[in-house]
Subunit: 140 residues, 2 copies
Amino acid sequence: MVEEQIIQLLRKSQLSVTDSRRKILEIFIQAGSALAHHDVEEKTSERYDRVTVYRTLQTFMEKGIIHTIPTTDNSIKYALCKEDCAEGHHHDNHIHFVCEICGAITCMDEIHVPTINLPEGYHANQINMVVNGICKNCKA
Amino acid sequence: MVEEQIIQLLRKSQLSVTDSRRKILEIFIQAGSALAHHDVEEKTSERYDRVTVYRTLQTFMEKGIIHTIPTTDNSIKYALCKEDCAEGHHHDNHIHFVCEICGAITCMDEIHVPTINLPEGYHANQINMVVNGICKNCKA
DNA sequence: GCCAATTTTGCAACTTTGTTGCAAATGATA
DNA sequence: TATCATTTGCAACAAAGTTGCAAAATTGGC
Ligand SMILES: [Mn+2]
Ligand SMILES: [Mn+2]
Ligand SMILES: [Zn+2]
Ligand SMILES: [Zn+2]
């Protein structure tokens, strides 16, 4: 049961199990795609304060439960991390797809970000690859 | 002379040559790295209204003079385009490097974004690749 | 289950960022 | 220089994000 999984995940991350955390995690699990802060707020149907949503997203980030996806429209999107992320250490090495029609943002877990040869003296820690285009649901 | 080049570029883009546009273009040319709206405002030493800066950046975007770089910190960065961008058509196919220490954001014009095999049904229009790490000035 | 200690939440007040309408100022053109 | 179109600054606003603090909820031991 999903409720149980949510509680497990919060416990595993050493977070106390609160209504807002449960609800927001549930929203991410149910949403197929990445969500902006604003989307999360809307889906809670005004049950939690804006500030609580901000703080919850921040906490989830720190604990490696969700990760951010940079987009060109100046709005950070958040999506669930996979197993291999942990507190303070994200390993989201997959590409992200942004559909220009429906706006859905998908984690393409199976497609890894290719390695890059940087110029002498540069060191890469993390690479974000965001593909904008048309998703399979929206293609003509 | 740089002043002349700036005027040429504005003319070429069919923009009237105004103080703010000249000054803001100059700021981009002098800055080695990408700038946020806020950076631009600061460097104009309060000579232009915030709204003017917003509108100027927007105009430069539309005319293919600058392009945006998505970042994970929810602030769009802007950088000068190369020759092959034009009104309504950007061709910024290079990767961007964000230094985690000095914060500088560099266009690596010489490093092209690799192509990606997307799943069946997906179509890519534009790919953004942003590398976070340590730049050559900041390496220990 | 109850209690004390700790953590989380909601609220208020605030700052920052971004948008819009409109009149005044400036730039292009002849 | 005069005219017309464009651009700018201002004011007023909306949206996004931050901080301090008291009230409420959660945890863990009894
Ligand atoms: Mn992802
Ligand atoms: Mn660039
Ligand atoms: Zn779509
Ligand atoms: Zn650096």
